[in-house]
Amino acid sequence: MSREIFITELDELQQEIYALGRHIESTFKKVVQAMNKGEKAVLQDLIEADEEVNEVELKINEQATLMITKQQPVASDLRHIIVCLKISSDLERMGDLSVDMAKAYLHMPSNQAYQAYRPELDAMVSKVEIMVRQVMEAYDSKDMLKAQQLAAMDDDIDQAYGKLVKDLFRSEYSVDQTAQLAFIARYMERIGDYCTNISEWIIYEVNGKRFDLN
């Protein structure tokens, strides 16, 4: 076997993406927990901590660029690196969206509406959590079937989001609560979309073909 150092570097890059994915999953969970408990200080801390994610993404970009420059990869090696770049960017956006949820919550003058719609929100949260976890598992094991299954879950989240927004239009709560709540649901729905994006990249990495799962 030749190019062992390069192959090790490719593995390390994948591990960094995986770790970033787990971090994003954890941030999402922490934001939801803090919103549920009304812990505004925790939400503020989580907003500030997002800068670290941006730095990790930049580091991954730099490493990937250097690998392309120095190793001139082709075929599956090149796809591996391109997909790392794409997924790290999608993960960074997912991190931003979790933080945007926290910001929207902090803009709400009261959490009455939030608590009233907890069952609908909780249902969306649990689906998003499964998607985020499953997409990273699919990435780690290059499991195309698992990646593909996420499309159906994303459809469920889209429907739940649509229904929640309709309900919010008819709700008795003030617009400054319902609008922010709609944003929170929207950001969750977008996180689901990014998961399907990542699924498409996993399929591309494995077989070199692009599929539209959205």
Partner: protein, 273 residues
Amino acid sequence: MSINSLQERPSREEATVTQEEAREAVFRTEGLNLWYGNTQALHNIELDQRANEVTAIIGPSGCGKSTYIKTLNRMVQMNPIVKVTGKVYYRDQNIFDRKFPVEELRTRVGMVFQKPNPFPKTIFENVAYGPKIHGIRNKKLLAEIVEESLKGAAIWEEVKDRLQENAFGLSGGQQQRLCIARCLAIEPDVILMDEPTSALDPKSTLKVEELVQQLKSKYSIMIVTHNMQQAARISDRTAFFLNGEVIEFDETDKIFSNPSDKRTEDYITGRFG
């Protein structure tokens, strides 16, 4: 729902296949086997060289790349222990047919070698040599051929004021382009290149690569190279040889982005070879 049932975005290659396929084959190799004594060096080769395209042949040392292209001008048969079966058609004529004169074949199929091999003559004489042995004596015509050939090989500007100097005074890169000019002077149809840049520095290599790109509008080119980036940069189609077999032959974009055979993938990504 299976992966295949999902709507696939059409790739660029697929969209242009019809146009590509319409190109005629200058060389068509069918079931070519070749032995050096008892050792079989080529196994059932099937390969087309299309007109006005660059075909790259890649593969590890000893895989039969050079043997294959030397078969196309029958140079390989100068070795008495070589035995060949199968067919190679040059413009629909089997080159192994006794009625096909080998001199005619070599006039139509020029070759450039790994190491520049100018004759120990002047720059002018190097290029004029081929046309002269084909009977051209008119000095004005010879001068025109020399100028055109040197221009075609992108070396005219560098040598136009020193045509009477010995070719050995040129740099390696210039000597190689002179050899290409010498090849162009006999107006070939196909140019075979056997690792033409492996003895050259990076700048000369780039010049020869650019030249190959320019030449394909007039000629069909087959190039053996150990430099995979070179194959990816300059060829339209690439054949991967391994142990005397063609493992994969496809559009270069496909070979270097998503090859079909794992052995090709492993070779081009540096897993072996």
